[in-house]
């Protein structure tokens, strides 16, 4: 006894596009008189009649309506009939409207040595108003990423998250992989441009551990304006050959940084002299993978030291 059934096509449209709906009352619906006038209501808008109402060969009553421009991203369409001095709802359908996804942009990836995962992020593009899935796709390749090797399992981003983390077991370190993002919703799909990278060339490097060295009084060369340092690389990156930079600055308003280049990634004892401009100096260090591709680490937290 189907006393009212709505069909809409298509269920999802571009915002502003038309929607065609039909509401049918089957003849065996005993409660309604067969000449009932089928009415429609979109959301909370006023009730309106259908464009056309007619009987189908099997006696079914059908009302057709075209909503010229669906301007709700989500809305309910009701099929009703008049009832005493009110109306009765027969069925309800959910309409969705939005946009197909634009191509995701600014795809970038970093290899996290602490979690051993490759984390990629992107910009999703304008709001689509529709549930849209973002999937990070990749396959193994060679240097120029033309060669298509084994496909790597998809990395499906969580809802409303524009990043995804490829676990270590899906990564072939020291080999190139092609990687891109695919966005998809009910109105279409799109892809970002492809990246071609070796995960180990995009390591997120942390700064070295910089420490003051307390030199015994005997060793101190009594030369004023000196201080002694030691540093060692960030533990998870110890196996990577790195080159580092030191910068120091007197604690004075508007003072400039002085840089020391091409330092090794670990040093037990390093003397820095000529520090006469202020009682306290701030020192920082950063490192980068040497002779192989990599990114600079951020500067280490400032170390305040008093020269002799």
């Amino acid at each position: 006894e189907s006393c009212g059934h709505i069909e809409i096509s298509p269920p999802v449209v571009r915002l502003g596009d038309p929607v065609l709906a039909s509401c049918t009352i089957s003849p065996n619906c005993s409660k309604l008189d067969q000449q009932a006038k089928i009415l429609w209501r979109l959301q909370d808008e006023p009730i309106q009649p259908g464009d056309r109402q007619h009987h189908l060969p099997d006696g079914t009553q059908e009302s057709l309506i075209t909503l010229p421009h669906l301007n709700y991203t989500q809305a309910f369409l009701f099929c009703l009939v008049p009832w005493e001095d009110s109306v009765q709802l027969l069925d309800q359908a959910e309409l969705h409207a939005g946009y197909p996804p634009a191509s995701p942009s600014n795809l970038s990836c970093l290899m996290h040595l602490t979690t051993n995962s490759l984390v990629c992020q992107w910009e999703p593009g304008p709001e689509t108003h529709l549930p849209t899935s973002f999937i990070l796709k990749s396959f193994r390749s060679r240097a120029d990423c033309q060669y298509q090797g084994d496909t790597i399992p998809d990395c499906v981003a969580k809802k409303r998250q524009n990043n995804c983390s490829i676990p270590r077991k899906n990564l072939l370190l020291y080999q190139y992989m092609a990687i891109w993002v695919q966005a998809e919703n009910m109105l279409g799909s799109s892809e970002s441009p492809k990246l071609c990278l070796d995960p180990m060339d995009v390591v997120k490097l942390e700064p070295p551990m910089l420490q003051a060295l307390d030199i015994g009084p005997d060793v101190v060369s009594h030369q004023p304006g000196c201080l002694w340092l030691s540093w060692k690389p960030w533990k998870p990156s110890e196996y990577m050959e790195q080159e580092c930079e030191l910068r120091y600055q007197p604690q004075l308003k508007g003072a400039n940084w002085t840089l020391v280049f091409h330092l090794p990634s670990s040093k037990d004892q390093f003397e820095l002299c000529g520090l006469h401009q202020a009682p306290v100096y701030t020192l920082q260090m950063r490192c980068i993978r040497s002779s192989l591709p990599g990114f600079w680490s951020p500067w280490s937290p400032g170390l305040q030291l008093r020269p002799t």
Binding site: L173, Y174, Q175, M200, E238, Y239, M240, L292
Partner: protein, 168 residues
């Protein structure tokens, strides 16, 4: 005379050797701390009875360094140790993550070597098949086998490191 090896291959390989040696020693430290298995030399007899193999790097020795043979032995040795590490899975929940990472790093290094052999045109058509792995029937055998296999791997990598420096 064999073709010279690209500098990036040698640098990446040396980095992979150091990476594997680093996690190998972490695992050995954990096996020692957790199970008091700190002396591989006390496990040699067990190694024989379990049939834990030692991979040869005769082609990489400094006296008779033969590039193609060295690369080939390096590759098959890495495949052997990857298989051994795989046979050790289930060693203990605490060590499983480090063991999994070590095994993946060894497998990835084997791919780096194989890739280079293909680039040089010296790669055999078919990858070497995995030889039979020892069956560990007790938790102790798995732990002791782990200590032995990883200490053999560390020695293997040390020889590889020297050879790669020679080839560089």
């Amino acid at each position: 005379p064999s073709l010279p090896l690209p500098r990036s291959f040698l640098l990446k390989s040396l980095e992979q050797v150091r990476k594997i040696q680093a996690s190998g020693s972490v695992l050995l430290e954990q096996l020692c701390a957790t199970y008091k298995l700190c002396h591989p030399e006390e496990l040699v007899l067990l190694g024989h009875s379990l049939g834990i193999p030692k991979a040869s790097l005769s082609g990489c020795s400094s006296q008779a360094l033969q590039q193609t043979q060295c690369l080939s032995q390096l590759h098959s040795g890495l495949c052997l140790y990857q298989g051994l590490l795989q046979a050790l899975s289930g060693i203990s929940p605490a060590l499983a993550p480090t063991l999994d990472l070590l095994q993946l790093d060894v497998a990835n290094f084997a791919t780096t070597i194989w890739q280079q052999m293909e680039n040089l045109g010296v790669a055999p058509t078919v990858q070497p098949t995995q030889s039979a792995m020892p069956a560990f029937t007790s938790a102790f055998q798995r732990r002791a086998g782990g200590v032995l296999a990883i200490s053999y791997l560390q020695g293997f990598l040390e020889t590889a490191r020297l050879a790669l420096h020679h080839l560089a």
